[in-house]
């Protein structure tokens, strides 16, 4: 620790360099492993949202999916990238098993079986084998996202009949086997298969990639059909399906899923605030704030097909009653509507929405640093190294300090310490611009009696307040470039490798040419042959770890 302090005391720039080097070099030396030579993954675990939407598609939205899921893993900012790193632990499988049995019991219960099973053992079908066959022939392809061979269907039906004998009822047997299907790797994971020639994945894997990307759910019957008849293997056939899916209202689900992951809105579910300090905040408000952001985005990028960058300046906020107290506006309408804030209002753009403001704050107060780090990392794809371990923060944020009353004054004390200043110069101005919004996202103009100063500089441009900062972000090429690489990483479930650089750069140019339309970008990716590339497994006698991949460039 001491050695490092000396090393970095002279130069702030050196700090991040040293931190980056210790991390990377330290890792390589410690493990003495060859860099991971593995090809990109062909196996993704369904996210909780994908699991839920798949079940709703196959069995209907009134089937309740009850239980805790094994937590998804955020890797390099995206859960989608984590899906190619995670497996299922024993305790996690128990959760999936319990959820599956809950679903299967509903599918076969009195309320649903007529619609969802539709047959029962009878005089011609004494043990119900025929009924089970017809059931599995119908739901099997939807759950496994591929055609099932007749032998597979027979095996499932025969398992159902055997189970029925054990448990005493046909429905019990059917339900046991159905739950088993939902506990199977073919359901819980998306395992790609190679197509003809091996350069691309097969038609069914294409259908899954496309469907989970654009709709965040399993392929529908039409898409499975296009996979089966080879249509997805021709440019025309693929374009036809992509057009159909882009025109569907379900595109909204795909857009929401991307932005929920990109903006890390899943964290709103566990966000807590001190209710004495923020009485207006509650779990219901947190949920409404999350929904507000997603609805605002859908309104802008789907319904109005707007320029992505305008999200940073837009005054149109989706609004609902629960959020009235946070925004200090009267809401008399029921349900959701679009509220337009007036020209001079401090609410302007995504950064001033309660979700992001509250997410990047402490439970009892704001944190310009957290807000700055969050904005840079999420919206500009710029990482901030972790703080060095041996910093004395005492002066920085003593909230009772009689001379340093505001957060800005306390934070500025940081800048006298070169070791801290390097990063804080980058993060804090953004956060300080948002200081007029408290830890729950409510507007204020003073802190402990002193006026809050929201002026600052970002990318060499002066601003005063969140609205002006939003305008600068809107113009920053880094913001649009970050969006493109994030959508690419989301779609592909991994970071781009050297071979992908040209592909990503071309998409960035295309995004600009298309007027920064998110849906156009999604279409470009959905039609990109690289999106369907099959990564040929490299056989290895010793299974190797995956974890190291994430580490490279962690502090870059």
């Amino acid at each position: 620790m001491k050695l490092k302090s000396r090393l970095v005391a002279g130069s702030g720039l050196l700090l991040s360099a040293v931190l980056a080097m210790t991390a990377v070099v330290g890792f390589d030396r410690a493990t003495a492993r060859e860099p991971e030579a593995d090809a990109p993954s062909n196996v993704r675990r369904l996210t909780e949202a994908q699991y839920r939407s798949t079940i709703a598609d196959v069995f209907g939205p009134d089937i309740k999916v009850v239980g805790r899921f094994e937590p998804d893993l955020r890797v390099e900012g995206l859960l989608a990238v984590g899906t190619t790193a995670v497996s299922i632990t024993p305790a996690g499988l128990e959760h999936y098993d319990a959820i599956a049995h809950g679903i299967a019991a509903q599918v076969t219960d009195a309320n649903h079986r007529e619609k969802l099973v539709g047959c029962a053992p009878n005089a011609q079908d004494v043990d119900g084998a025929q009924c089970a066959k017809s059931f599995f022939a119908r739901v099997g392809p939807r759950l496994y996202r591929r055609a099932l061979a007749p032998a597979e269907i027979r095996a499932l039906a025969s398992a159902a009949v055997s189970s029925a004998k054990l448990v005493g009822t046909f429905d019990g047997g059917l339900s046991t086997v159905l739950a088993g299907m939902m506990t199977s790797p073919e359901f819980l994971f998306r395992i790609d298969a190679p197509g003809k020639g091996g350069a691309q994945v097969d038609g069914y894997s294409k259908a899954s990639r496309l469907s989970y990307f654009l709709w965040n759910t399993a392929p529908d019957e039409a898409l499975l059909k296009a996979a089966a008849n080879g249509a997805l293997d021709t440019p025309e056939g693929l374009a036809k399906e992509v057009d159909r899916m882009m025109a569907s209202p379900r595109l909204t689900d795909g857009v929401r899923a991307f932005f929920a992951d990109f903006l890390r809105l899943d964290d709103m579910a566990t966000l807590t605030k001190d209710t004495l300090l923020y009485p207006a905040f509650s779990p219901a408000v947190a949920e409404a704030a999350r929904e507000q952001t997603l609805r605002t985005i859908v309104d802008h990028v789907v319904t109005r097909d707007g320029d992505y960058r305008d999200l940073f300046t837009s005054r149109r906020f989706a609004m609902t009653k629960a959020l009235g107290p946070i925004y200090d506006i009267p809401v008399s309408k029921s349900g959701w509507y679009i509220h337009e804030f007036p020209e001079n209002d401090p609410r302007s753009g995504l950064l001033t929405q309660a979700s992001l403001l509250a997410l990047h704050s402490h439970p009892g107060r704001t944190s310009p640093t957290l807000r700055g780090v969050g904005t840079l990392e999420i919206l500009l794809c710029q990482k901030t190294p972790p703080p060095p371990p041996d910093v004395n923060f005492s002066v920085v944020q003593d909230v009772n300090n009689p001379t340093l009353k505001t957060t800005r004054e306390r934070l500025q004390a940081h800048l006298t310490n070169e070791q801290c200043a390097t990063c804080h110069r980058a993060t804090d101005p953004i956060g300080l611009a948002l200081e007029q919004f408290d830890g729950a996202g409510t507007f204020r103009t003073t802190e402990r009696g002193d006026r809050i100063d929201v002026s600052g500089k970002f990318e060499r441009q002066d601003f005063n307040g969140a609205a002006e900062l939003g305008k600068i972000l809107r113009q920053s090429p880094r913001v649009s470039s970050c969006l493109v690489s994030s959508v690419w990483r989301y779609a592909n479930g991994r970071d781009p490798g050297p071979a992908d650089a040209a592909d990503v750069e071309a998409m960035k140019r295309r995004f600009t040419d298309d007027g920064y339309r998110v849906t156009a970008l999604m279409r470009t990716i959905a039609l990109d042959p690289e999106f369907y590339a099959y990564s040929r497994p490299q056989p290895s006698p010793e299974p190797k770890r995956q974890a190291s991949q994430d580490k490279k460039g962690r502090n870059s």
Binding site: L166, V167, Q397
Partner: protein
């Protein structure tokens, strides 16, 4: 990467044959059913009482001058921050002065030290740990034969607060509330070990058979994928096999467990309860600790992890804008007192919560002693003095006698030895076949003999 080299079955058989590890391909039911059920009884805790292992974690360490006992051996003195353990001091050994060595690697605050204690090797991100956490190693050794190989708990309401990992991508998520713990252990699948009559439920047989079919896909799927994917799918299939074993256990009459008393279902936590508030957290933890005691007494697991607060101690006091973690860095040292008063408050109170857990285990009578006598719990934090994120002198404690294998109630000074000596000791006590543990300069072959009987 250490992976379990033998199947659950060999672990079980090891128990049955009294030590020698033998791997056989017997179907699990046959294994249990021959021998008139005594194999199962021994494996799951019948006959001799089972020995359990657990970890207890609290974040943000302590203030050394106000926590470290000055006298060593038995009847050590209790400084202010340790005063909370007084009622259970005779059960607790304090292990002070053991260090995490960074070996030139960066110290990621609140992460590196914790990883060092639990995996025996430093890393600055859980995703790149180089060995499984020691609870996983112990569970691989003794967890078989219980309905749950291991039970991961956190008192903060967040299932992601876990420091138990098989590898960097496999975190064992936690059960974060008492009511969920109750549902998991004492819910529909619970087999009361003291119920007079037992009838195997054919539904378990049907489920097991279906799961076996799922497991049979393993070979076909593994040949289709690359090395990393293969490892991930293999982990999945290991989980499938564990569930099959669990279902097999459900088909057997569990051995009697005299200390087992099925608890009442606790009320669910009120929506919006702020579990970052210290009092709310302590209450949730106490309820969970009591439920955990019954889980152990009823032979539902032999290994547990309990996280009281996360590694950057998310604790607060309602109405105070500054939380514990922020206070460790920002609070000025009071000139008159000579320490940070808010930090002192939280560090002191965390030890009360630790005493709650020890007390919960000590309150259950089992055999000639208590449940705690048949348990070993390792408590530790992520750092010593949180203000500077110091990973030397990380506070650690042991509670319980591990069935008579461990002497409790001592203060032992580590003199700057690596923390891995503690990790090696607990593994050896719990019967893991290991004579050295730890990576880089923390590699050690020396258990702490002073606590061994």
């Amino acid at each position: 990467m250490t992976r379990p080299t033998a199947s659950r079955r060999s672990f079980l058989l090891k128990g049955a044959l009294g030590g020698a590890a033998v791997t056989v391909g017997l179907p699990i039911l046959d294994l249990f059913l021959d021998n008139n059920g005594t194999a199962f009884a021994k494996a799951a805790g019948g006959g001799a009482l089972p020995i359990r292992f657990g970890t207890w974690f609290w974040g943000c360490g302590m203030i050394p001058e106000r926590w470290l006992p000055t006298t060593t051996g038995a009847n050590y003195d209790l400084p202010v921050q340790l005063a909370g353990i007084k009622p259970v001091q005779q059960h607790i050994s304090v292990l002070s002065g053991f260090d995490v060595n960074l070996d030139g690697k960066s110290n990621l605050p609140h992460v590196s030290g914790n990883i060092g204690v639990r995996t025996g090797g430093v890393a600055d991100d859980w995703r790149v740990i180089r060995a499984p956490t020691l609870d996983v190693l112990i569970a691989d050794s003794i967890g078989g034969g219980s309905v749950n190989r291991s039970l991961d708990l956190s008192a903060d309401g967040n299932p992601r607060t876990s420091y138990s990992y098989r590898d960097g991508a496999s975190m064992n998520a936690t059960v974060p509330t008492a009511s969920e713990l109750y549902a998991k252990i004492f819910g529909a699948d619970f087999q009361d070990p003291n119920k007079a009559d037992f009838k195997p439920d054919p539904r378990y047989m049907a489920r097991k058979s279906v799961l076996s079919a799922v497991g049979e896909q393993r070979r076909a799927l593994l040949t289709r994928v690359g090395a990393s994917d293969r490892q991930r799918l293999d982990q999945y299939f290991t989980s499938v096999r564990e569930m099959e074993d669990k279902l097999a256990l459900q088909l057997q009459k569990p051995p009697r467990a005299e200390a087992c008393m099925v608890p009442q279902a606790p009320a669910a936590i009120k929506a919006g309860t702020d579990l970052t508030d210290f009092e709310a957290r302590k209450a949730n933890h106490k309820l969970m600790a009591e439920m955990l005691a019954m889980t152990l007494a009823c032979n539902q697991t032999r290994v547990f992890n309990m996280t009281f607060s996360n590694s950057a101690a998310d604790l607060r006091q309602a109405g105070n804008p500054t939380g514990y973690h922020q206070s460790t860095h920002e609070e000025l040292i009071d000139a008159k007192l000579g320490y940070q008063p808010t930090v002192d408050f939280f560090a002191t109170r965390c030890m009360e919560a630790w005493a709650d857990l020890v007390q919960a285990l000590a309150s259950v009578k089992e055999g000639d002693g208590t449940l705690l006598d048949n348990t070993l719990v390792l408590a530790h934090s992520d750092c010593s003095f949180a203000k500077n994120h110091e990973v030397s002198r990380i506070p650690m404690m042991l509670a319980g006698r591990a069935g008579g294998r461990v002497k409790p109630g001592l203060h032992i000074k580590g003199g700057g030895d690596p923390v891995t000596r503690v990790g090696l000791t607990v593994q050896q006590v719990m019967g893991v076949s290991v004579d050295a543990w730890g990576l880089d300069s923390m590699h050690t072959t020396r258990p702490i003999s002073e606590v061994l009987v």
